[in-house]
Symmetry: C2
Subunit: 146 residues, 2 copies
């Protein structure tokens, strides 16, 4: 089990948009070339980011743009936008036997604990901002030029 690559692709996309916004038109074809996947994959992810208010896209003239400052976009926003995990991170077996004392109590005992684990992860995602990723990327690109 792994969290869909939509998540890392989405971060890659936004990093590209921000890095190249003044040099190139950031179309789905341009972004697809950097990520190295089919442009339709990019467009689908852009649609999800758009619905979440994270990016804007333009028909006709083309291109994608950040819809708000990158220090207001966290990994959690992206993770939610691209729908990596519906609601529950842990898949609970569907029908524990309620005739068994353990079977009819297992949910009461586990649910809170599983949510605590999921929250630990999601809270970490909330700490991370897209602006930090872009800044680090620009630094690395800058070093390359030396």
């Amino acid at each position: 089990m792994q969290i869909s690559s939509r998540f890392t692709i989405a971060i890659h996309i936004i990093t590209c948009i921000e890095t190249f916004k003044d040099e190139y038109k950031t179309t789905s074809d341009f972004l697809a070339a950097s990520v190295n996947v089919n442009p339709v994959i990019i467009r689908r992810i852009l649609q999800q980011l758009k619905k979440a208010g994270i990016v804007e896209t333009k028909r006709g003239s083309g291109g994608a743009y950040a819809a708000k400052p990158l220090d207001e976009i966290t990994f959690y926003d992206i993770y939610k936008a691209v729908d990596c995990v519906e609601n529950d991170l842990f898949h609970f077996h569907e029908n524990p036997n309620t005739n068994c004392p353990v079977g009819r109590n297992i949910h009461f005992v586990l649910d809170n604990r599983l949510h605590d684990v999921q929250n630990a992860m999601e809270n970490k995602l909330k700490e991370m901002k897209l602006s930090d990723v872009v800044n680090d990327t620009l630094k690395l690109i800058g070093k390359e030029a030396q």
Copy 2:
């Protein structure tokens, strides 16, 4: 995407084993009845737990038993044993374009952050002990009897 139900089933299994160890022979059929799945599912998970040194099983006479004190078994041990996540929680897109400045630097920028998120989750799993789950379950069963 969700973490396999093998994880919650494994916890359910061990809770059952401990709760009923003096009353019943905890065979795969018995455990399957409580979890409400096919006995082969139970046996496969028991095999994984056995390889991790968490439970023991007996052929012929039958039954499964905890291989060590439950306060020495954490959720993390189980999560590793039943192989919910191979190594990386996040699926990174395979071949970012190294001709693109962002494509060739994205791994350097993201890898540490993704590991931090994964560690946040796994550290929480390490905090949780099977003994706590069993104790809570026994309390709830006790309340039912009143």
